[in-house]
């Protein structure tokens, strides 16, 4: 099979997989956006691969494959940084909630004590 056909098929299936994950509510739109954009870009370049070669030459890459690896590497670094930011945000929200729960639990216990004292 032609390598271009393989590239197109793989990028389309990634795109469809993301769409399906959103459809089955395993991914929310907010987090699916990044993946949709990346996989749409992959489909585009798999179809118009000559454009990809031109880009590689323009940027001074001797082999188009090197350009693809470099681009992929950049995308993954960016995505993982983004994920770390989300993780960090979740972590601090989690802490705030734990603190609130602990303080509320204390308050409830105190109220119960007062209530039982009144009865």
């Amino acid at each position: 099979m032609n390598i271009h056909v393989v590239a197109i098929l793989v990028s389309i299936s990634i795109f469809l997989l993301v769409v399906d994950l959103v459809r089955r509510r395993r991914l929310t739109f907010k987090y699916a956006m990044g993946w949709l954009i990346v996989s749409a870009g992959a489909i585009f370049f798999a179809v118009f691969y000559r454009l990809l070669f031109a880009c590689a030459a323009l940027l001074g890459f001797e082999l188009p494959s090197n350009f693809i690896f470099f681009a992929l590497f950049c995308v993954f670094v960016f995505l993982s940084l983004l994920l770390t930011v989300f993780l960090c945000q979740q972590n601090s929200r989690n802490d705030v909630m734990a603190q609130k729960i602990a303080l509320l639990e204390f308050e409830i216990k105190e109220l119960k004590k007062k209530f039982n004292g009144l009865r």
Binding site: D95, A98, Q99, A102
Partner: protein, 240 residues
């Protein structure tokens, strides 16, 4: 309440301190000062909370272990909710000598400082001065914080501290989580707080010095340095 009509809260963060915490709470309650004791049980899996309650402390139990920074911050939030004027932080392991409570609170009562750090190294004392490698690390932070903020604190890792109401408000909203003791000094200085040190004695917590501890100290130094440097470039600084 005390002579100055100030409500004082002693915050004791504790993680699996069963066997120590009861004694610490009793010691604080037995001191001449009229204070409330709040133990923050940081997700302990032993009987820390029960022991603290039996000793007569108030206990707030975090649902899981959040780390010392978030535990102490919970104490500040409590102090904020129940309108305390002064908060004192004391370790739950009995390392801090509660007979110095009065001394550490005094500058706050006199309105000479917003934050008071109990220091082992201010005067040459008989008490526990920490192991050699730790002292090298501590000395490094003394100079780092001094160069970056202009404040000279001789014992920046000491967790024996007193704060006034302004600091309670500041820290209940934001308190450093990673290495809270040295970082809190930087945050306070950036907020425009008046920070002073008083000399205290501390007891030894653990004996011996292994090579593993040596590397741990080095690793800790690198991490804290990075954390402090990141604080220096942080946006959204709150003034007290």
């Amino acid at each position: 309440m005390n002579n100055f009509n100030q409500k004082i809260l002693i915050i004791v963060p504790a993680f699996n301190e069963c066997g120590n915490i009861g004694r610490t709470v009793q010691e604080i309650r037995g001191s001449a000062l009229s204070v409330d004791v709040l133990v923050i049980d940081d997700g302990s899996i032993d009987n820390t909370a029960k022991e603290a309650l039996q000793a007569g402390g108030q206990v707030v139990s975090l649902p899981f272990n959040l780390g010392i920074g978030a535990a102490v911050q919970t104490g500040f939030q409590y102090a904020q909710i129940y309108q305390y004027d002064i908060a004192v932080q004391i370790d739950g392991d009995g390392q801090h000598d509660v007979s110095f409570l009065g001394k550490i609170i005094e500058p706050i009562l006199q309105d000479e400082a917003d934050m008071v750090v109990g220091s082992r190294f201010l005067e040459k004392t008989e008490g526990f001065q920490s192991s050699f490698s730790r002292r090298v690390g501590i000395n490094f932070f003394v100079h780092l914080i001094n160069v970056l903020t202009g404040v000279k604190i001789n014992d920046p890792t000491s967790g024996f501290r007193a704060y006034n109401k302004k600091m309670i408000t500041l820290f209940s909203a934001y308190y450093p989580q990673d290495f809270p003791e040295p970082e809190a000094i930087v945050v306070s200085q950036q907020a425009g707080a008046r920070i002073i040190e008083v000399s205290v004695l501390m007891r030894a917590r653990e004996a011996g010095e292994s090579s593993i501890r040596y590397f741990k100290t080095m690793y800790y130094m690198v991490k804290v340095t990075l954390a402090i440097l990141l604080h220096m470039i942080r946006q959204k600084r709150t003034k007290i």
